[in-house]
């Protein structure tokens, strides 16, 4: 039976849920969105998007190698991402504030590693003859291949990740905003940073399995960046970020089900639209806010311009 879209949304959803693979995909998408939304909010706060992207791209050769060796791709994603997170965490801390290990803002290092990872991935794909069609799935995501076991693995990875995030929450926020002060107050800043990288690896590996390695940012960065635009309250921000990621994931899957294009494309489109709206809203709100308190805006501008 070929599904076709009608104006009856309930009927559309019912039709979609009649396919077991679609139920799996929606479960997986939900798990992945919750983790990516929450971890992504902290990642954007810590300015570690580069690290997040590197981890995601490194997942690609991992998955390709897994296919070549005949293991489930999940192992490849998690293995490669977690291993590279451990490597980044072990790098000597950079002198720059906000930097992560030696990775700081060294986009040259990041670029080199990412290019090499993509090349390795392509090598493994080629070594496994006749799999070139799977390349698109690995890079841009798929909804058709999600198995029940894969959903279980995603759940097993997501739960500890969320529990650790909840336990670390406040010290992680403290160490992200003000590492010096947090360190003085007894927060193990280095350890907290390393644990966060591990959580980021889990989030990136999970998200890769839905959106593909190249479009991980659709769930990991864009909803979080949108939430940061909309609110400066941490709790609300994390909530919004998770909410946006969930909506994007569900809408993306539904549209992907009824269209020939990969899910990664649709999730990206939805989150990007949301980001544009939030940015517009922010600009408008800031302008209104400035008009409302012209005195203080001028005063603070003057204070900023004045030499100390």
């Amino acid at each position: 039976m070929q599904p076709h879209l009608s104006w009856d949304l309930v009927e559309d959803v019912r039709q979609m849920l009649a396919f077991p693979f679609m139920v799996n995909a929606l479960r997986a998408g939900t798990l992945v969105a919750v983790v990516a939304g929450a971890i992504g909010w902290v990642m954007v706060l810590r300015r570690q998007s580069f690290a997040g992207h590197t981890l995601a791209v490194v997942g690609f050769p991992g998955a390709a190698a897994a296919i070549w060796l005949g293991v489930a791709t999940g192992w490849g994603y998690y293995g490669a991402c977690i291993a590279s997170a451990l490597v980044i965490a072990a790098l000597p801390p950079s002198a720059r504030r906000g930097g992560l290990g030696g990775f700081g803002e060294e986009s040259a290092v990041i670029g080199t590693v990412q290019a090499f990872a993509l090349a390795c991935g392509f090598l493994f794909v080629s070594l496994y003859h006749g799999f070139l069609s799977g390349l698109t799935n690995l890079l841009f995501g798929t909804i058709s291949g999600v198995t029940g076991t894969q959903v279980q693995v995603l759940l097993l990875a997501a739960l500890p990740c969320l529990v650790v995030l909840a336990v670390l929450g406040r010290p992680l926020l403290f160490a992200s905003i003000d590492p010096d002060l947090a360190g003085a107050r007894g927060v193990p800043v280095r350890l907290v940073g390393a644990l966060f990288l591990l959580m980021l690896a889990v989030a990136a590996a999970g998200t890769s399995q839905i959106t593909g390695s190249l479009l991980v940012f659709a769930l990991l960065v864009t909803p979080a960046a949108t939430a940061h635009r909309l609110t400066a309250r941490p709790a609300l921000g994390v909530g919004l970020s998770v909410g946006f990621a969930l909506v994007a994931s569900w809408v993306g899957m539904t549209v992907a089900f009824y269209s020939p294009y990969p899910i990664g494309f649709w999730v990206t489109t939805v989150t990007f639209a949301g980001y544009l709206l939030a940015t517009g809203w922010r600009l408008a709100a800031d302008r209104v806010g400035q008009r409302r308190r012209p005195g203080s805006a001028v005063a603070s501008a003057a204070a900023r311009g004045m030499p100390a």
């Binding site: 670390l168 403290f174 002060l181 400066a232 941490p234 603070s300 204070a303 004045m306």
Partner: protein, 298 residues
């Protein structure tokens, strides 16, 4: 570098009060402390005592090791010789009873976290767990209310009410500084360690914050150790000053330490201290950095 920094040690002029017996236990006590950073000796033979209720300024040129000395007291930088006792324990043990304001550069303009949340981190930021505002209001209403009250109190104290709910990246440097001072005060610390708190404040704000810190120091018997580049805003309040230069330190009453003779001995070059009609001190001829200083400190 000429001379052994040990020579620079002018015998610590000691606590100012007259009756030694009635003195409370010192909040900070350093004896012959030396510290190294990246293979360089930053200072050595530093001996100082700060008692509860005392307001002490730490002065010295860029790169003299003022921030490093504070970090030694906090246990963030190890000392190679001597002993460090802070609030009755070795350095680093009682940091939660210390209000610390690190020397800083402003938050990035796109840091979108409210000032009030950052002040709040001063209260319980080190505790594991994730606070959910709604849940804590339901489950621990008394605790929730108390924390909220204390938060409002310190924000009011530093006069940051107007911008505490704005993202901190959008606050001016001076506004950020006030919020961070509130963060240092929120736990009612026994010891305040402030690294250039008056930096980036305008002249009236400098006077206001200095008076506020002096008030907390006197009424709550808090020991205050403050790094400053300009001693004048705090001069009337100071019990002691510590002058750090060329790897050594001198401590004593401002009138004893900020003199041409003492500073000339400390720097090893002629230094003049002038006093204008308003009683403001001007130090002339002070070299900018210690001889071994390898380059800009940051």
């Amino acid at each position: 570098m000429s001379g052994n920094p040990g020579q620079l040690r002018v015998d610590a002029v000691g606590p100012v009060s007259d009756s030694a017996a009635a003195l409370p236990a010192p909040a900070v006590e350093l004896t012959d402390v030396a510290a190294r950073l990246g293979g360089h000796r930053v200072f050595s033979y530093v001996t100082l005592t700060v008692r509860p209720g005392e307001f002490v300024a730490l002065l010295g040129p860029n790169g003299a090791g003022k921030s490093t000395l504070l970090k030694v007291i906090l246990g963030l930088v190890g000392h190679t010789t001597g002993t460090v006792t802070v609030l009755g324990a070795p350095a680093g043990r009682r940091n939660r009873a210390i209000g610390y304001l690190p020397q800083r550069h402003a938050f990035d303009a796109d840091t979108r976290i409210r000032g009030i949340d950052i002040v709040r981190l001063g209260l319980d930021g080190h505790r594991w767990g994730t606070p959910v505002p709604l849940l804590s209001r339901l489950l621990r209403p008394a605790h929730h209310r108390q924390a909220g009250q204390r938060l409002a109190e310190v924000i009011d104290l530093v006069g940051a009410g107007a911008y505490a709910r704005r993202p901190i990246g959008q606050c001016s440097g001076g506004e950020q500084q006030r919020l961070l001072i509130a963060q240092a005060l929120i736990r009612r610390p026994e010891l305040l360690i402030l690294d250039e708190p008056l930096d980036s404040l305008d002249v009236p704000s400098q006077a206001g914050i200095s008076a506020l810190i002096q008030d907390i120091c006197r009424t709550q018997r808090v020991a205050v150790l403050m790094v400053a580049h300009d001693v004048n805003p705090i001069l009337p309040y100071l019990d002691q000053v510590i002058y750090l230069a060329r790897g050594g330190a001198v401590m004593g009453r401002p009138a004893e330490v900020i003199t041409s003779d003492t500073l000339t001995t400390l720097y090893g070059t002629p230094v003049d201290v002038l006093r204008d009609r308003a009683g403001r001190l001007v130090v002339v001829g002070q070299p900018d950095a210690p001889a071994h200083h390898p380059g800009p400190s940051r």
